[in-house]
Amino acid sequence: MMKKYLKALAIVAPTLSLILFMLIRNITISAIIIGAPLLSIFYLKRARNPSVRTLLLVTHVMELLAAAYALSGSLKQSISQLCRIESPVSGQFRSALLRIRSGVDPAESLKAAFQGNPWCSEWLESLLKGSVSDAQDLFSAWSAKAEEVILKVDDLLSFVIVFSTILPVIFLIILMVSGVEPPLIYLLVVFQLALFQGVYHWIKGLLSLLY
């Protein structure tokens, strides 16, 4: 948690000082200066949409389980192996294993372990019903989710590219027509930077699921 704050502070502090400095230099441009970070925040909120987070989590868990199930052929052994490898969800697998050891059914314990997260896929339900009999079922479910990731990456990247290439041109004209002093055009870079910082880790997270 501390690391997150430190990182946020490291980015926010110079941005704020730069914006404040610009504000002091020209009060009339305050609306545009405030507008740029607001737009970035709007975008950040959109990127932090739970659906992206859920998609990341679900696809990651599915991939791990599909690979482990393919090798072991048993859900219990898959969970026990997945506890050993370093991943953002190893804690959940550990808690599922503890339940299994206390006599709970593997599929039920898996569902219980992931209950706190926004994840309740059809695939997990089918596990409970016992319809997953072969690794192929897991592959198909994981593959369908991964296709969703690919579409999401495509959407997100296209959106970012439009923001990073077309918006600066429009903003530059708006700044000039508003009579902004030339040094304040650097705000365009600050705006682009805020947007970049906001989407970088999300896109990287989505891409690294498949690479």
């Binding site: 501390m2 690391k3 430190l6 990182k7 490291a10 980015i11 110079p14 400095f21 230099r25 791990l64 599909a66 482990a68 393919a70 090798l71 072991s72 052929g73 052994q77 192996q81 050993r84 490898i85 370093e86 690794a135 592959f139 994981w142 593959s143 991964a146 296709e147 690919i150 990456v153 495509d154 990247l157 296209s158 970012v160 590219i161 990073s164 600066p168 041109v169 530059l172 004209i173 000039m176 027509v177 508003s178 009579g179 002093e181 030339p182 040094p183 055009i185 650097y186 870079v189 600050v190 682009q192 930077l193 970049f196 910082q197 989407v199 990287k204 891409l207 690294s208 498949l210 690479y211």
Partner: protein
């Protein structure tokens, strides 16, 4: 990312960041006091460092245990002992790779994509152990440093081999199916990324050229605000001349966009694109200055 690397990302001066920050200092020096210029320049440099020093997204490393090796191992497993099957699969893999690409080895070293072989107890060590008479089930357990789902392989293979060779062979084939499915998904994503990359390159260059046109025509836009540089009183010759105050921030915005966002696309070289973007910006500006200057 730990505290140290976060600070390093922020404080390690990036060459392009330094150049762009110098541009800001040059623009501000006529408008502000020395302390203000220094403060703004430093804050700007820190911000640029925080973006430019981030890792570029790159394609994944090659598997240590290749698909062809696994298939060959699974095929031979039912007929001989696990150790003999392992050695035979390694031999077949080596022959195949030597035939295809000269000196490439099964362990991933020797090829351009495989410069980062996971450290730790690798397949080469397993080979040595087998030759020393250690059972494969024992030596497999010692393999460390495999990434992603491959990290599951040694332990599970070892457990399966202790149980049944036939079952191991079947399970390896299942795992290979998973890998093939992942390869299919990867190629689908790569295809989409290639389209996005091309779109990004084209749009970046268009953006750069448009910024140059806007920077050149800035007196017209500023005249709309009614502040200064009105076209008529100054005359066209004075109005449409090179203006560093507008040129530098516009160029910065174009170059920043090209360099930073290229980090999200694996096939785009940020340096090349930012150089192309800056060159196009210059070329457009010079062409406009020459053409308009010649006509007026």
């Amino acid at each position: 990312m730990d505290k140290r690397s976060t600070l390093l990302t922020l404080l390690r001066p990036h060459p392009l960041g330094v150049v762009l920050a110098a541009g800001l200092v040059l623009t501000l020096q006529e408008h502000c006091e020395f302390v203000e210029v220094l403060a703004a320049g430093t804050a700007y440099l820190l911000l640029l460092n925080s973006a430019f020093n981030l890792d570029k997204f790159s394609l994944g490393e090659r598997e240590v245990l290749t698909t062809s090796f696994l298939l060959s191992f699974a095929k031979t497993l039912g007929r001989t002992s696990p150790e003999a099957a392992f050695l035979r699969a390694l031999g077949a893999e080596k022959r195949l790779e030597t035939g295809l690409g000269g000196s490439k080895s099964v362990f991933g070293s020797g090829s351009r994509n495989c410069s980062k072989v996971p450290s730790g107890y690798t397949v080469a060590e397993v080979l040595r152990q087998i030759r020393d008479g250690v059972p494969l089930t024992v030596s497999l357990k010692r393999i460390r440093g495999l990434r992603g789902t491959d990290a599951l392989l040694p332990d599970l293979l070892s457990d399966l081999l202790s149980f049944s060779s036939e079952e191991t062979s079947k399970r390896i084939c299942n795992y290979v199916k998973y890998r093939q499915e992942k390869e299919r998904l990867k190629s689908s994503l790569s295809l989409k990324l290639a389209v996005v990359s091309l779109r990004f390159k084209v749009l970046t260059l268009i953006c750069s050229s448009s910024m140059a046109v806007i920077a050149f025509a800035s007196p017209i836009f500023y005249s709309m605000a009614g502040l200064r540089w009105t076209v008529i009183p100054l005359g066209y010759q004075t109005t449409f001349s090179f203006n560093a105050e507008i040129f530098l921030p516009s160029l910065s915005a174009a170059v920043f966009s090209a360099y930073a966002y290229s980090k999200l696309l694996p096939d785009v070289s940020g340096l090349r694109l930012s150089i192309a973007s800056a060159s196009l910006f210059f070329a457009t500006e010079v062409a406009l200055l020459l053409v308009i200057g010649w006509h007026i």
